[in-house]
Assembly symmetry: C2
Homo-oligomer: 352 residues x 2
Amino acid sequence: MNFDPLIMKPKLTLKQIARELDVSVSTVSKALRDSPEISDETRQKIQAFAKLYNYKPNNIALSLKNRRTRTIGLVLPEIVHDFFATVITGVEEVANKRGYNVLICLSNNSFDREVMNLEMLANGSTDGFILSVAKETQQKGDYHHLQEVISQGMPVVMVDRVVNEIICDKVIIDDSDGARDAVQHLIDNGCRRIAIITTVDYISVGKLRTEGYLRALRGNDVELDEDLILKIEDVDNSHEAISQFLGAREIDGVFAVNEQFATSAVKALLNKGLSVPEDVLVFSFSDGELSRRFIPSLSTVNQHGADMGAKAAELLIDRIEKTVTDEEYQTAIVKTSLVERESTQKRKKATV
Amino acid sequence: MNFDPLIMKPKLTLKQIARELDVSVSTVSKALRDSPEISDETRQKIQAFAKLYNYKPNNIALSLKNRRTRTIGLVLPEIVHDFFATVITGVEEVANKRGYNVLICLSNNSFDREVMNLEMLANGSTDGFILSVAKETQQKGDYHHLQEVISQGMPVVMVDRVVNEIICDKVIIDDSDGARDAVQHLIDNGCRRIAIITTVDYISVGKLRTEGYLRALRGNDVELDEDLILKIEDVDNSHEAISQFLGAREIDGVFAVNEQFATSAVKALLNKGLSVPEDVLVFSFSDGELSRRFIPSLSTVNQHGADMGAKAAELLIDRIEKTVTDEEYQTAIVKTSLVERESTQKRKKATV
DNA sequence: TTGTACGCGTTATCAC
DNA sequence: GTGATAACGCGTACAA
């Protein structure tokens, strides 16, 4: 046992300070908040004591009293994708700037986990939350848990993987336009037989990116060959599927809807004896470390994840603090931008 | 305005249920907790009502009453590294399994942010936290904020980037051994002039990995050439430094302490006209998506981030729940393992 | 200038 | 079997 305050000083409460200095709790409270009601002498005595023992008000008590936690929730399907990691960064930055904590929950793309996450967050732990819907949830199409918390008056902002049926603030990117621009870029650089490696259609963003691909082909009178469309169901074992797919087809361009698919594609093309970008141009989606550092570095559609996260946090906190005068729900669209790198810059073939 | 409960049902409290059913608050509380004191009739009536309107107890009130939040904090220096992302996954999984939420704060490697984060987490929001120290904090060597919260009785577990001066539970990997094994592997495969690309020494893990490199050289009577050691200060602009360094030296092996350095090294070697692994073998540290998908895929020392996070969460929650009978603080060492990939598998040179 | 009383939502204890 | 009361820590309206 050691009572030396430098060694062991348990958390202080107002009550303890009051007892120690022989005043009432409310006097301490007022003194610490610089109330003019309290005499200079008392105030200074109390403040000095509080500082010495490093008094900090208890957040939980404040939350209960004020009926607000100054905490926002963030529910993500996964995190080992650079994209979601950057979303966290954006959310966290804005939240902290505006005095909020961020409570992160991972659904691991599981519907049940997502339901549990929402229940937790809605039980008073947070003032509202940001959600990117789990894959399984999009597949099931069951959104009652979302409807539930929203009907309880909890502000919700959906980001990236959104659900049209649910009415709330949303932050998305122009997936379709971004994809169209990328494919347009391939066409402009001479590609005519462009394969797309995408996800199954129930993933909202995969579907939209496929649409963009189709639009680009149509807009340039490039013939659509259904055989050049690969829709991946199982992302974890996608490499083999991509390898077979590309091995059996004559193409001069690839558009992949994420970095994983793009790198698999490059590898498959190399194995086939082709060069990127000399023989085949490759465009990726979702700008992360992988695209930047890959050899050849990958041209990508930048999703600006941090911007999306930041925007989502702004929308949410505005909603929480009711500074949104207009009651209408917003759908903010963050513009993508193309980042051109080596994988689409044709070098002179002869000199290689 | 719409009072249809299916459209809008604000959160219920015990008090509201009590008023609605004309009983007392304590009766409601007991009925919902299946207390035998309450008659079947009353109990069923109350439970039915609570279920219909989806009553859930308020977490904040429970936290205040029980003096425990069932929330743990996680303070990380950055997140766009696969390693820390996997740590989050591990922490989150264990925490959820044991009924805890995870509050994530990013220090962005800033000392000030870290201090703020700790203050927030220590003000009642969490029952304890896991911390990986910010770069700037290690540089300053100022740990009073950590000492502070620990002396308040808040359980703390440090992970990966730990501080020896602070006494608490820790989870680290055998950085030095992992590095030694990697370099040993290079030596076993014929390398004699092995460069190391590492961080400045105030980063604890960088220093340890450098030690492992030195031990491997000594253990094999490979001459140490100080000129083959590159210590990076500014990670963001490391590529240029690495390029110059490798460009000017004759080497047959590279050991890099992270994926970023390793990929920069490969690129620099290619630019120099060398092949990996034909001319130079490259071993990396920290097994992430980048290493797996890079071409050539990179041999790495796997840090098992998810395991480290899981272990840290176990230690922390044990400490919180006082199931640790032994009062001694533990330092758990998660073993690294070598993952051998293309970057160190010498193919027959002639056939290339 | 200081202290008392109340309420945030919950549960435990005790009285009826 | 049910209800009133106190307590968790805080802030504030109001009373002294």
